[in-house]
Symmetry: C3
Subunit: 251 residues, 3 copies
Amino acid sequence: MLTVRMSDTKVWKTCMGAIVNLLEEAHFRFTQEGVSMRAMDPSHVALVDFRLPSSAFEEYRVSKPLGLGLSLTELNRVLSRAKSDDALVMEHDEEKNRLLVTFRGTSSRKFSLPLLDLRESELPEPRLQFTALVEVMAEVLQDGLRDSETVGENVRFRVTEEGFFMHAEGDGKSAELRLEKGSAAMPKLKLERSCSSMFNVKYLSDMLKAADPKDVVTVHLGEDLPVKLDLRIAGGRGSLSFILAPRIELE
Amino acid sequence: MLTVRMSDTKVWKTCMGAIVNLLEEAHFRFTQEGVSMRAMDPSHVALVDFRLPSSAFEEYRVSKPLGLGLSLTELNRVLSRAKSDDALVMEHDEEKNRLLVTFRGTSSRKFSLPLLDLRESELPEPRLQFTALVEVMAEVLQDGLRDSETVGENVRFRVTEEGFFMHAEGDGKSAELRLEKGSAAMPKLKLERSCSSMFNVKYLSDMLKAADPKDVVTVHLGEDLPVKLDLRIAGGRGSLSFILAPRIELE
Amino acid sequence: MLTVRMSDTKVWKTCMGAIVNLLEEAHFRFTQEGVSMRAMDPSHVALVDFRLPSSAFEEYRVSKPLGLGLSLTELNRVLSRAKSDDALVMEHDEEKNRLLVTFRGTSSRKFSLPLLDLRESELPEPRLQFTALVEVMAEVLQDGLRDSETVGENVRFRVTEEGFFMHAEGDGKSAELRLEKGSAAMPKLKLERSCSSMFNVKYLSDMLKAADPKDVVTVHLGEDLPVKLDLRIAGGRGSLSFILAPRIELE
């Protein structure tokens, strides 16, 4: 038996809206503690780690640990129908093997979605020796990525004692973003040593779609290592993390 | 001779904008009482009944009853050019056999449209034995139809003692809207007996395009009967009604 | 050496955004006095004349007259990334033969663009014997052009003692705009004699994209002569003028 309720559909909707760009379907695990999902994207370049504790819900009733396989494409089509002040209820219809999604507002609107038979992926948390950490306003990253898109498909992240930098180039053009140490848009900069890595712009843009422009995103970086992005969700109670493999420059 | 003027173009523009989705051309009848139009759509599934009394116009001069055949596609292209505070003037140019549409605002902008030689259709008012009537806020119907579109092409309307319901399903998915009796979004619910009928979603959506989301729409329903939707226009002085044939479920 | 800075990127962005519709690339001349550009469009139907004095910049440093060939398409792609409160800095990177465009806001974002080897076109100012001049609010012209687009591809401008008129027709339809002498939307009307000329609507629309709807545009007209449109930019310090050849009606 599963019945969960949130008065604000936005948290769930925003997370699913970001994850669907990386995964078409996903296996969610509901336990007493909360709901979680960890998966690699089909090309095995990106890892998604989503956690939302039961305390982020107004009502959270799970009789025993439950795994639900869902088409994120279908789920998002349903979530797109939520109105801003609707409450969200999700229930498991065991008999019909469906997820029931209800929006409660002026009227009550219930959608049912077929469950998919997905195997749960057993992915250990990757151990990465990051050498720098910055907390950056999401808007700055989002701007820098859109700048980068105008010149090429990759962007280099760099952290030094001086600040955080993004650099892209291609076809004789270049785009560079500089965020100097001490900027109000970067509340934290910590590093063991300077480092830089290059990433695919499209993946990073998709990951940052879940972030409110004014939110702070934590970026973990190393030298030619994957990047880890931590987004705070549900007022910091939940987390949505992404790990993205670097692009290695061929010379 | 025909000269009519409205200080608010919005009434005329909104009605034409909804009708054009069902009819490409139409024969309007201007008499001393006002302007009216009744026609079936080309597939004979829907009937449109439009009435706007002379009192809805600031100036209304018709020397004798006059029928004007118009391309609604062309008329809407012209009306799309109206600015929000423009007054609307429509005149018949007998010599050139055209309709003159003028928007009076900062400048005066006059469009001329060729008249079409359309025969007036003699459609009697259909007699239907509806067994239920609900007054519902347009927004609720519009939401329910957009929900239905995400799962299939048909939607079932149902009225019972408990309230008003919309239900659609397809491909293992379903969408249901419940509006309980007593809801502020349903000022009236009257029924002889419970009834339900199924309709094409697209037609209903097109019909409701003329309704302001906060307006109340009157829905007349019967068991496997057509539905009749009454929209109030021009502050209740005019009316725009649609009748749509049901889809019969094959089993 | 070239370094120029504007606290408001909008002036530069709007001008480039209008010019790019007529020219894909252009040769800008930076001197002590300011920056200027004059060119014909590829089909030799329209002439663009752009002038922005050094006083329109907060900082303006040019060591010697300098010509820069730029892809306006590329430049606009970069300018589209400016945020509303960013300051704009443009510099010449002589070594790499590039233009550096920097947006200074929360972060500092620098783009580099390759310079093109364009020959400066030596275009004399055309001498035209206009017989009428009107100052019209840009919005009126923009409305009249959009009206005209709904009926055909040409529009006739006409100035008489009575006012300013735009007329388009095609396929049995017509659109006419009348702006009577004395209208608040036409602060000036001066004429030696009545005149009218016909122009391509698309070209005029492109030219007026640089004008704020509430700005006044000066229109110079003659009988079957080109039209000249003068737009005030940077609060009247700079100017953007367009000359467009007439369409001659074949009878």
